[in-house]
Structure formats: C-alpha cells, structure tokens
C-alpha cells in the first residue's frame, strides 16, 4: 500500500519533470530567435530606416521605407482577392454545405491548398499574371498572396460561423427574418469578432511570405509608381540584403527582419484581443 503510493508519487514527479523539460526546450528556439533578432536589428532601427529609400553600397544611411510600403500594398491587394472569396465561401460551407458533395469538394480542396508549398502558388501567379502582362508587379504578388489567403480564411470562417449556436438562427427565423438576412445580419454579426481574428491571423501568415513574391512582385529600389510595377517587400528585401556581402546591408537585413517581426506580432496580438471578445459574447 505504502509502496504503491510512493511509486505513484514518483511516477507523477518524473512525468511533470519530463514535460516541463520538453516545454522549456520548446521555448529556447523561440526566445533566442526573438532576442537575437531584437539585438541584431535594434542597431539600425531608427527613423531614417523607416522613412528613407535604400542607398547604393557604400553610401551610409538608407532604409526600407519602400519595402514597408510594398508589404502593406501587397497585403492590401491580397486581402481584396482573398478575403471576400474566403469569407463568403466559409459562410457557404457552414450554412448551406452541411452534407452536399460540392461542399465536401470545396472543403477538401481548401485543406489541400493550405498545404501547398508557397513557391507553387508563386509559379501559378507568375503564369497567370506576370507572363501575359510581361512584367513583374505588385498586382501579381498580391494575387499570389491572396491565393494563399483563400483556403485559410475559408476554413476559419466556416469553423467560427458554425460556432454560433443553432438557437440563435431559430430565434431569428421565428421573428420572420428571412434566411439570407438571418445569415448576414444575425449569424455573421454574432461571429464577427471571431471572423476578424481569422482574417488577422491569415494576414499575419502571408505578410511573412517570401517565396511567392520572388518572381511575382520581384523587387524595387525606388518608390513604386503603381501596382503595375515591380515592388519591394520587407521579406524579399531582407532576403536580398542578407545574402549580400556588405556589412551595412546585412545589418539592415536584421532590422528589416525585426520590423517584419514586430508587424506580425502586433497583428497576432490584436487577433488574440478580438478572439477573447468573441468568445465571451458566445457564452
């Protein structure tokens, strides 16, 4: 009896110790990555970096203002492509596609698509837009990122709209509110914060993509004149600078990485905030 209890206590302690160690090990890469980027990137992080164009090698100063603007442009174009399709497809799957074959296919395709390597999405956008238009452009890059957003937004929207209790729909029907009104004004409105969370997370996900931009948006050392021009982005700029042999450019690459990290982190944090609110409303 006593022996058995001792045995149990020791098993318990060993397991807690093992799990704790694993958790600690999992934290090491994350913390060291954050610290390293912070230390390395902080050296060049100043107002000039955020507001001026890249300078030729050897000329001091210079920054990534055009790349920051480029990333924002690309995300906006991607959102215009990906969000409407993704959100409405998600609503369709949740409200009309419980059991039909078509919905099953859409769901399956979305799951496969979200696992497709991003460079493949880049090739598709290259074939669809860059080749016929004969130049790299922000449009092509945005569309490539938009393609990546569709499956993510579709599936998160579907899950979040499904979370709205059925009783809410019935209550709305019982008031003589039509089906489409119920969906748009009651159900989607109830799931609004959750959907917003999904949207922000998908934006955070694509903002850090490099591969699909390499041969769609390409790169640019100047302010873009429009979305039909090659455009710099933080990720591609970091990539270009990081593999360059110049110390100054390498430092700037770190700072670019830091800016990107802060951008994605703040999007993630606001997503967390919205999700917390949406959960409390669904109680």
């Amino acid at each position: 009896m006593v022996n058995y209890q001792t045995y149990r206590r020791w098993t318990d302690r060993t397991m807690v110790f093992l799990c704790g160690t694993a958790a600690f090990l999992a934290g090491i890469p994350l913390v060291s990555l954050l610290l390293y980027v912070l230390v390395q990137g902080f050296r060049r992080l100043d107002w000039t970096f955020l507001t001026s164009l890249p300078t030729p090698v050897g000329v001091s100063g210079g920054g990534m203002a055009n790349a920051i603007l480029g990333t924002i442009t690309l995300v906006l174009i991607a959102s215009c492509v990906g969000l409407p399709i993704g959100i409405f497809a998600g609503i369709y799957l949740s409200e009309y596609g419980k059991k039909n074959r078509f919905a099953w296919m859409v769901r399956f395709t979305a799951d496969v698509l979200s696992g497709v390597p991003s460079i493949v999405t880049g090739i598709v956008a290259y074939t669809l837009i860059v080749k016929p238009m004969h130049n790299f452009s922000a449009l092509a890059g945005g569309v490539a990122l938009g393609f990546m957003m569709i499956p993510i937004t579709t599936r998160t929207t579907e899950e979040l709209v499904k979370m709205v209790p059925h009783s809410i729909r019935e209550a709305s029907w019982a008031l003589g509110i039509s089906q489409w009104r119920t969906i748009l004004s009651i159900v989607v409105r109830t799931a609004k914060n959750g959907i917003l969370t999904g949207v922000l997370l998908s934006i955070a996900r694509i903002a850090g993509e490099t591969a699909p931009l390499l041969f769609t948006a390409f790169n640019n050392q100047f302010w873009p004149k429009g979305i039909n021009e090659p455009t710099a982005s933080l990720t591609v700029q970091v990539f270009t600078y990081a593999i360059s042999p110049f110390k100054d450019w390498q430092d700037q690459a770190w700072t670019g990485a830091l800016v990107l990290l802060l951008l994605v982190l703040s999007i993630n944090l606001s997503a967390k905030f919205f999700f917390k609110n949406s959960r409390s409303l669904l109680r």
Partner: protein
C-alpha cells in the same frame, strides 16, 4: 395502440360516469385551477390544425392531431417528454420544416388561410406567429434596443422615430420597460435569465404578432422570474393568442383557459383547463395529472 387503449379506457369508464360526478376526487396531487371566464367556447377560432402528422426522418412524432386554438386565449399543451408537444407548436409557425430530414402532413389554418398554402411565405407566417424558446436566446452581439428593433429593421423599417416607439411599446407590453429604460444600449445578454426571456417576448411583440407560441418558456427560470412571465402571459392574453407548451402542470392550470394533453404523438384530450384538471374524460389524462406516470 394508444388509441385502442384510450378507446378501451373510455368504454370501461362509461358506467362510472353515471355516478354523480361532483364529488371531489381523492387526488394525491390536487391542482388548483384559476377560475377564468367559463365561456371559452364562444371565442373565435384563431388557428386550426387538421390531421397533422410529422416525422423526423423515419420516426413519426405526431399522429393525426386535430386541434382548434381560440383567439385571445391561452392554450396549454401538456404531456411527458417526447410526446410531441414541442413538435406540434413548431408546426404552427412552420419551424418544424427547418429541421433537416423532417416531414409534415395535414394542414394548419391561421384564421381562414392555410399556412401551408404555396402562396404563403413561411417567413410571413412567422412574422404573425412568433415563438419564444425554452432557453432565452437574445442576440448576443446586439444591445437591448437592437434586440427588440431587429425584427422590424431587417424587414425594412428604417425610421428612427417609429423604431423608438415600437421598442418602448414592446418593452412595456413585456413588462420590462421600467427595468431597462436607462440601459437600452447595454448588451441584451447582460440581463438576468428572466429579463432575457421577457426581452425575447418583447422582441416577438415588435413584429406584427398575432399568435405567440411559447415552448416551455419558464423551464430555465427561477420561481420569481417564472411568476413574472406568467403575469405577463395574463396581460398578453387581452390582445394575443397564446399557445404554451409546459412540463409544469401547475403552470398550465394557472395560465391557460384550455388544455391539451398529448401522449406519444397523439392528442389524448383537449378541453377547458378546468375540465381537464378536475374531471378528465380520459383515464390516461387522469393518470398523468395525478402523477401516476410521466
């Protein structure tokens, strides 16, 4: 089978009925019946169900139910769990058909018109025949004001003044106005359970409601909130036709003028509440009311 049983019971009871009926029964659970106007029979018929059968998949939930619902009166439907009472009232505003795999046969009339007429839009039916559910279901993201106004707003009323008026009138009718008039912009979900249920009633009253279906409206409420909702039912009876499904027989006796007893998807007995609770014609009704089963 139940029908046969019921028939048999009737026959067996026949000789007994010749005996003087007025002596009080020796019930273990005697239920007091409020004495409402006795002339419930002169009332106009507001809704009428004819040969209603309903299925969920292959399972039949209702068997040939015929019932007349009086206008501006409270009709209670009682019976054990799973007897089909909720299914029946969900047929009255065509909510039954929203369940995947459900089927319906028979006909239901709202005044002279069949609600299953192909020219009748179920959405329009539901605007006239509203429903309050077991669990209060205020729309979680909407304020108290918007919860009441939403039915009108989503059907096209935009005028702020009209909406203000309707919201106040509906909340007053639902006996909630005094409690919430200073916090109309607060979330509807922040109210107490009883207040939420009255908010749901107010929400139904805001559209052009004629018949209010209540599916066990008090089963999730505490006794004080329950008595408030019951008082409210008394008030609403002046202007609306009410059908209430309830597990609580005392409640049925307190609030209704007519009572229907259902068992296994069949309507066993339907008569004035006083008659059903003091002198039921059917042995099954008596057994249920005196607590011998259910």
């Amino acid at each position: 089978m139940i029908d046969e049983l019921a028939e048999k019971e009737k026959k067996e009871r026949k000789p007994v009925e010749k005996e003087p009926k007025n002596e009080p029964r020796s019930d273990s659970r005697k239920i007091e019946v409020a004495h409402h106007e006795p002339d419930a029979s002169v009332k106009k018929v507001k809704m009428k169900a004819e040969g209603v059968c309903a299925w969920f998949g292959t399972k039949q939930a209702l068997f040939d139910v015929n019932i007349d619902i009086n206008e501006k009166a409270v009709t209670a439907i009682i019976g054990p769990s799973g007897c089909g009472k909720s299914t029946l009232i969900r047929c009255f505003n065509r909510m039954h058909e929203t369940v995947p795999g459900s089927r319906f046969a028979g006909d239901i009339f709202l005044e002279e018109n069949s609600i299953f007429d192909p020219r009748m839009d179920p959405v329009a039916v539901r605007r006239r025949v509203g429903m309050v559910f077991q669990k209060p279901t205020p729309f979680p993201t909407l304020s108290i004001y918007d919860n009441v106004a939403v039915g009108l707003r989503l059907n096209g009323t935009r005028d702020k003044k009209t909406l203000d008026e309707v919201v106040e009138k509906s909340l007053r009718k639902a006996a909630l106005w005094e409690e919430v008039k200073d916090s109309l912009q607060k979330a509807g979900a922040a109210l107490s359970g009883g207040q939420q249920q009255r908010l749901c009633i107010a929400r139904s009253l805001a559209v052009e409601l004629e018949v209010l279906l209540m599916d066990e409206p008090c089963s999730a409420l505490d006794p004080i909130s329950t008595s408030k909702v019951e008082e409210l039912i008394h008030e609403l009876r002046q202007n609306y036709t009410i059908i209430i499904v309830t597990h609580n027989m005392q409640q049925a006796a307190r609030v209704s003028q007519k009572t229907a007893f259902m068992l296994n998807g069949k309507l066993i007995e339907y008569d004035s509440t006083e008659k059903v609770f003091t002198n039921p014609a059917n042995k099954l009704t008596e057994d249920y009311i005196t607590g011998r089963f259910g």
